[in-house]
């Protein structure tokens, strides 16, 4: 367990050092997330990555050929090292740790915006810009739709939740009325 903790730290720090810009960070993060989803959903890839019957050098060759062009070079090298040491099962934890480290290093805030209807691109851009100005950070923003909100917005910046949705206001009013 302790050994794994050490390995996760080394891999995520290496990934973090190669993420020198916000764009770079986003590209590595997206790639890692895609890879995690793929390995979870696709049984062939999952079996290939975890199989003890296939030699690690063989795995590395196949992996290199498949992703040489698609992946960032540093990222590919780190993934190859992980395959070589049979540590690819630590990918989820490594990604989590990498995001935490990179956010701190590049002053990035993770923002989740939930609205009751789909916002158009210009609204999304304006909101992202505004949030970046307010927080004084680069923001990694994710938009989603939840009709249950009825009106208003829910904006989660890291651990802080700013909730102006009509749903919450109605719930607050309800609990105040119950307390009469």
């Amino acid at each position: 367990m302790k050994q794994n903790h050490k390995k996760i730290k080394i891999y995520s720090e290496s990934l973090c050092s190669s993420a020198d810009t916000f764009e770079n960070f986003q590209s590595i993060k997206r790639t890692l997330e895609d890879l995690i989803v793929l390995s979870k959903k696709d049984l062939t890839i999952n079996t290939f990555l975890k199989s003890k019957l296939i030699d690690s050098s063989q795995k590395m060759d196949i992996f290199k050929k498949a992703f040489n062009e698609a992946f960032n070079k540093n990222l590919l090298d780190i993934l190859l090292v992980m395959i070589e040491h049979d540590d690819i099962n630590l990918l989820v934890e490594v990604n989590k740790n990498f995001v935490t480290l990179a956010k701190k290093k590049l002053n990035i805030a993770y923002v989740e915006v939930t609205s009751p209807f789909t916002m158009d691109n210009s609204d999304q851009d304006n909101l992202a810009k505004e949030l970046s100005n307010i927080t004084n950070k680069q923001i990694d923003v994710n938009f989603s739709v939840n009709k249950e909100l009825i009106g208003g917005l829910k904006i989660k910046i890291d651990d802080m939740l700013f909730d102006s949705s009509l749903k919450t206001k109605l719930e607050n009013a309800k609990s105040k009325l119950i307390g009469v």
């Binding site: 989660k156 939740l161 700013f162 607050n172 009469v180």
Partner: protein, 505 residues
């Protein structure tokens, strides 16, 4: 409940008026896993230890384990209403309860929520349930008596205001009965200038038992000055864990405002068991009897909060009567030894005495009060010394007499006296006795006036004697109440009255 249309209208209007500019701002986290009443959450980076956090569906919890990557939260509500991925909000405040006289006569949960159906509690003050105990300079020695109304306790194991006296014994030995009688006996203090307000904390008991107790307190007029804090056996372990701290905060209000409080924790063994369950689920390392390492601190920090305050702080007091249940009379188990070492004495109840008809089944040899003697009135002190000695000698001789067929006169007299002493210390439940009456009957027994009374008639003699004093010599009762002493004149008067009654008995 009376719902006022105007109030609803105003609230709705307020809500609608502020609907555009109100934004809820909360620090939040996410539930990673949930089970056994404990949730592990991510986020909540700034959460405080013991902070109240809110889950969806009005379920609240308390943050206990603050770890590097996650926070362990114990739930106070139904954990089936919380699921993985739910948002958890900080409330910014540690767990607190409403306090004050508005809680008198009420039955509340450990979070201060009324559960007696008598409507909301409009308390003006709240206090955090976890508070630091007072320091040395803020305290004052225990000097005022807290009368239990039980002859065997008030005479031989006296309790003072601000003391912590443990009630310990096996199941079904009358532990709760002593605590209940003590609460009922405080009724007399409410016609004096220093009333004692009571808090009864029921931990892990059956709801029916608590309902019966509340009924008895109501029937005896004791609910008027009592608050009952309940965490039933069916409540989650975290509620059973915090119940004594909540009760203590309610009691501390009286202490801190120059009044006197009495708190009963019934019982702390069940609280320790609930804490053990919580700790194991939170993956804290188990120690002796699988209790976590800080189980001593669990009880010491609670009982240290009972104290007598200095004059500068208003001279208030909070007396604690913790209850511990032993298994097969084993006082050397982990939790009993811990609590014995923390408290200022213990009342040990013995199963054999109980089954033998000695009720309250107080084992005088194993029971002790370390500070209460200073609080005893002089009259009681004078007669109690002899009583304790007589009883000790009786116990020794009684065992010896079982093997010997012939006894010399002195030994036989000692046994006769002892048997009558044991008889007068017996007392029914819910009939606490005033101090003056206790003094009179114990005085009569220790002076040998009961030696020639048949054992079966002792009870009848006691009732008759007290009635005789009340009708023929009320000045004796008044003098004991006023001076708290038995001077030579009073002793003569008492002897005369007893002899007079004996002639007619």
């Amino acid at each position: 409940m009376d719902i006022k249309i105007n109030q609803i209208g105003n609230l709705l209007r307020d809500q609608i008026k502020n609907i555009d500019n109100n934004v809820d701002v909360n620090e939040v986290g996410e539930v990673l896993e949930i089970g056994d009443g404990v949730a592990r959450t991510s986020g909540l980076g700034n959460v405080m230890s013991s902070e109240l956090v809110e889950f969806p569906n009005n379920v609240f919890g308390m943050a206990l384990n603050l770890e590097e990557e996650n926070v362990g939260v114990v739930l106070f509500g139904d954990s089936s209403l919380v699921k993985e991925g739910d948002t958890v909000k900080r409330t910014g405040k540690v767990v607190e309860v409403p306090v004050g006289k508005e809680l008198l006569g009420r039955v509340v949960s450990p979070l201060g929520v009324p559960i007696d159906g008598k409507g909301p509690i409009n308390s003006k003050h709240t206090l955090p349930i976890e508070r630091k105990a007072l320091g040395v300079m803020q305290r004052f020695p225990v000097k005022e008596p807290l009368q239990t109304g039980l002859k065997s306790i008030d005479s031989m194991i006296p309790i003072g205001r601000g003391q912590r006296e443990l009630i310990i014994g096996d199941r079904q030995t009358g532990k709760s009965a002593i605590a209940t009688d003590t609460i009922i006996n405080q009724k007399s203090t409410h016609s004096s200038d220093s009333p004692v307000y009571c808090v009864y904390v029921a931990i892990g008991q059956k709801a029916s038992t608590v309902a019966k107790l509340v009924g008895e307190l109501e029937a005896n007029g004791a609910m008027e000055y009592t608050t009952v804090v309940v965490a039933n056996a069916s409540d989650p372990a975290p509620l059973q864990y915090i119940a004594p701290y909540s009760g203590c905060a309610i009691g501390e209000y009286y202490r801190d405002n120059g009044m006197h409080g009495l708190i009963v924790y019934d019982d702390l063994s069940k609280q320790a068991t609930a804490y053990r369950q919580m700790s194991l689920v939170l993956r804290r390392p188990p120690g002796r009897e699988a209790f976590p390492g800080d189980v001593f601190y669990l009880h010491s920090r609670l009982l240290e909060r009972s104290s007598k305050l200095s004059e500068d702080l208003g001279s208030g007091s909070l007396t604690a009567l913790p209850v511990i249940e032993t298994q097969e009379g084993d006082v050397s188990a982990y939790i009993p030894t811990n609590v014995i070492s923390i408290t200022d004495g213990q009342i040990y109840l013995d199963t054999n005495l109980f089954n033998g008809g000695v009720r309250p089944a107080v084992d005088v040899g194993l029971s002790v009060s370390r500070v209460g003697g200073n609080a005893q009135i002089k009259a009681m002190k004078k007669i109690a010394g002899k009583l304790r000695l007589d009883l000790a000698q009786f116990r020794e001789l009684e065992a010896f007499a079982k093997f010997a067929s012939d006894l010399d006169e002195a030994t036989a007299a000692q046994i006769t006296r002892g048997r009558r002493m044991v008889e007068i210390l017996k007392q029914n439940q819910y009939v606490p006795m005033s101090t003056a009456n206790q003094v009179i009957i114990i005085y009569a027994a220790s002076q040998g006036y009961l030696d020639d009374i048949e054992l079966e008639s002792v009870k009848e003699f006691e009732v008759g004697l007290l009635e005789h004093f009340a009708s023929k010599a009320p000045e004796c009762i008044k003098e004991i109440d006023d001076t708290g002493n038995i001077g030579d004149d009073l002793a003569d008067k008492m002897n005369k009255t007893i002899e007079e009654f004996k002639k007619s008995f």
